[in-house]
């Protein structure tokens, strides 16, 4: 049992409890039973809402009514098809993919550069830059959405992917720069000194020596930036008002008005939006949990 938590313990010297007793006495067995009963109830609270939506996505209209809470047997793809084609979710999906992927690509350039500068360089004004970025971490998007809207309008970026992508990267930049900074700070200083003595330029030290060593950090940044831009509602809601550029979350918001009680359709949209995120999460749990635990306060 080398690791029993997704997150490493705060202080690493967490000693596992001794070997379990071979036979549980009656009272201990009851306690153990209660423990697992409690955990299962809480797990049900966490998972049932999602299971409800995911399974309903595979039910046809009749099943939604006759069998609202059972498993979707036989599975039907009617609702997914309706959402995908007549609900325009294929378009929304594509828009979401474009916006999220470009945001991620931009962020994995911007954040490592900034993180490296903050972690490994001494320069004039460093303190001010750090404090300004720290304040930037805490500015809520919803608070600046009014002036940000006018800025985007003045740049002529409204109703284009660019507005949302730029906002995703700009607002996330301080947070991801600090994540990368933390990764760079862990590296021993001898590394770059050796490279510099060998006459490498600063950018080559960064690119050839340092960047390959912080790959896990870059992966974390990429995953979290994807999660955030994929799930974000308010930026595309405000900046993109033409249907052809809308993203999935906005499409879902409109669904609530258009088809108020069509839960099959609603569930399908939930499935389409959450499937990519859930797959990525199951593949890279540790990166997600560590990254999110480090203090993202962005909704």
């Amino acid at each position: 049992m080398a690791s029993s938590s997704i997150l490493p313990a705060r202080r690493t010297r967490a000693i596992e409890r001794g070997p379990r007793p071979r036979k549980l006495t009656g009272r201990r067995r009851t306690t153990r039973g209660l423990l697992y009963f409690y955990l299962t109830v809480v797990a049900a609270f966490s998972i049932i809402p999602l299971l409800l939506a995911w399974s309903t996505a595979f039910k046809d209209r009749a099943q939604v009514v006759t069998n609202p809470y059972g498993p979707p047997i036989p599975p039907a793809l009617d609702n997914l098809e309706t959402a995908w084609i007549s609900g325009r979710f294929s378009e929304y999906f594509l828009n979401s993919v474009i916006i999220s992927v470009v945001s991620v690509l931009a962020m994995i350039v911007v954040a490592p550069l900034a993180g490296y500068g903050l972690a490994r360089m001494r320069f004039w004004g460093r303190r001010v830059v750090i404090v300004v970025l720290l304040i930037g971490l805490t500015i809520p998007i919803t608070a600046i959405i009014l002036p940000l809207y006018t800025v985007m309008r003045d740049f002529g970026l409204l109703n284009g992917y660019g507005s949302v992508i730029i906002a995703h990267v700009a607002i996330g930049a301080p947070f991801f720069a600090f994540i990368m900074r933390a990764f760079f700070l862990r590296l021993p200083p001898e590394l770059e000194d050796a490279a510099r003595v060998d006459g490498c330029s600063e950018i080559r030290v960064f690119w050839n020596v340092m960047l390959p060593l912080v790959r896990p950090g870059v992966l974390t940044v990429a995953l979290l930036e994807f999660l955030w831009s994929w799930n974000n509602l308010i930026l595309p809601l405000v900046f993109l008002t033409t249907d052809s550029v809308r993203t999935l979350p906005v499409g879902m918001l409109l669904l609530t008005g258009r088809f108020t009680t069509d839960y099959g359709l609603l569930s399908s949209s939930v499935l389409i939006l959450s499937a990519p995120v859930v797959v990525l999460f199951l593949l890279f749990q540790r990166n997600f949990v560590e990254g999110l635990a480090s203090g993202s306060v962005k909704g």
């Binding site: 490493p8 966490s46 001494r122 009014l146 006018t150 700009a170 930049a173 933390a182 405000v238 839960y263």
Partner: protein, 309 residues
């Protein structure tokens, strides 16, 4: 755990004899920082400062002229009953959400620490809602709260049909119902953070408690809680700041209704600013909103830094 802000260096700048090399170094450093800094300055800092300016005008967002009104918008805010209602709702929302995640989260984490099997599976399940979009949380829970939804079906099944209602349609239950939905989406993060904290507690303290004959409950209050204080503070502030900014989940379900019972600062600002085109007044609400978040965030950063020393 990745530290967001490690210590700011105490040395103020390059020493004199390093000045010449320092100039070049500064230039290189700023080249590295340029993409992040430029984006941040143009699209975050400038709008933030612009927000303060905006709040001093009366403007509909479109017309080329805006009327300077000084601090009138703030004066109006002070007398706006709906603003205070939204602020009160916002605080209640935060209180409900944070209490739930703190209490249930702590109990769950310490139960999880005692569970020898399936710990990772439970953690995965608790964490799944955390990665869901807020619109997913909103729509799924809106459905659960419907008159014919999961909760009411359950109540009917167990013979409590008298308590069924449209949970989001009743001004008395709408806000707590939404707070529970929002708590659901942040719950897993709290559990994972608490569990990491509990696993960091020195085992000998638990052994000592056992020797002294303490039961589970006594151990929880005498060892776990005091030892977890720094973690609890961080989680508390993290969840508070996140909850205070709630917008999506309310906008996608009740839009502040019924009868303003779920109006919070973010939705109220959005309504006044965008829906009604009162940019100046919306900006004044946003400034107030931001100042509250900033103060809470600065406190959390200071406490976090102190906790890590």
């Amino acid at each position: 755990m990745v530290s967001i802000a490690s210590k700011v260096p105490t040395r103020r700048g390059p020493r004199l004899r390093e000045m010449r090399r320092g100039g070049k170094r500064t230039l290189t450093a700023y080249l590295f920082l340029a993409p992040a800094l430029i984006l941040f300055l143009v699209f975050v800092l400038r709008p933030t400062l612009g927000l303060f300016g905006l709040s001093l005008f009366e403007w509909n967002g479109v017309s080329p002229t805006r009327e300077f009104v000084g601090f009138d918008n703030y004066g109006r805010l002070f007398e706006d009953r709906l603003f205070w209602k939204a602020l009160g709702n916002n605080l209640l929302f935060v209180l409900l959400l944070v209490t739930f995640n703190l209490v249930v989260g702590l109990i769950t984490a310490s139960a999880l620490a005692r569970a020898t099997r399936g710990r990772l599976i439970y953690q995965l399940i608790f964490f799944l809602p955390v990665v869901q979009a807020s619109i997913v949380t909103a729509l799924v829970w809106e459905w659960i709260y419907q008159p014919g939804g999961l909760i009411n079906s359950f109540l009917k099944t167990i013979g409590l049909g008298a308590f069924t209602k449209g949970w989001l349609g009743d001004p008395n239950t709408a806000l707590p119902a939404l707070a529970l939905a929002a708590a659901w989406s942040g719950f897993g993060l709290a559990v994972v953070l608490f569990l990491a904290g509990i696993q960091g507690i020195d085992r000998s303290l638990y052994d000592a408690a056992k020797v002294d004959g303490a039961n589970v409950r006594q151990t929880f209050f005498a060892v776990t809680i005091p030892q977890l204080r720094p973690v609890i503070t961080v989680v508390l502030l993290l969840e508070m700041i996140g909850a205070f900014q709630a917008f999506d989940i309310i906008w996608a379900t009740t839009r502040g209704g019924p009868v303003n019972s779920t109006e919070v600062l973010a939705t109220y600002m959005f309504k006044r600013g965008f829906t009604e085109g009162q940019y100046g007044y919306g900006a004044a609400i946003a400034v107030t909103f931001m100042v509250i978040v900033l103060v809470a965030a600065v406190i959390s950063i200071i406490l976090r830094e102190r906790g890590e020393d």
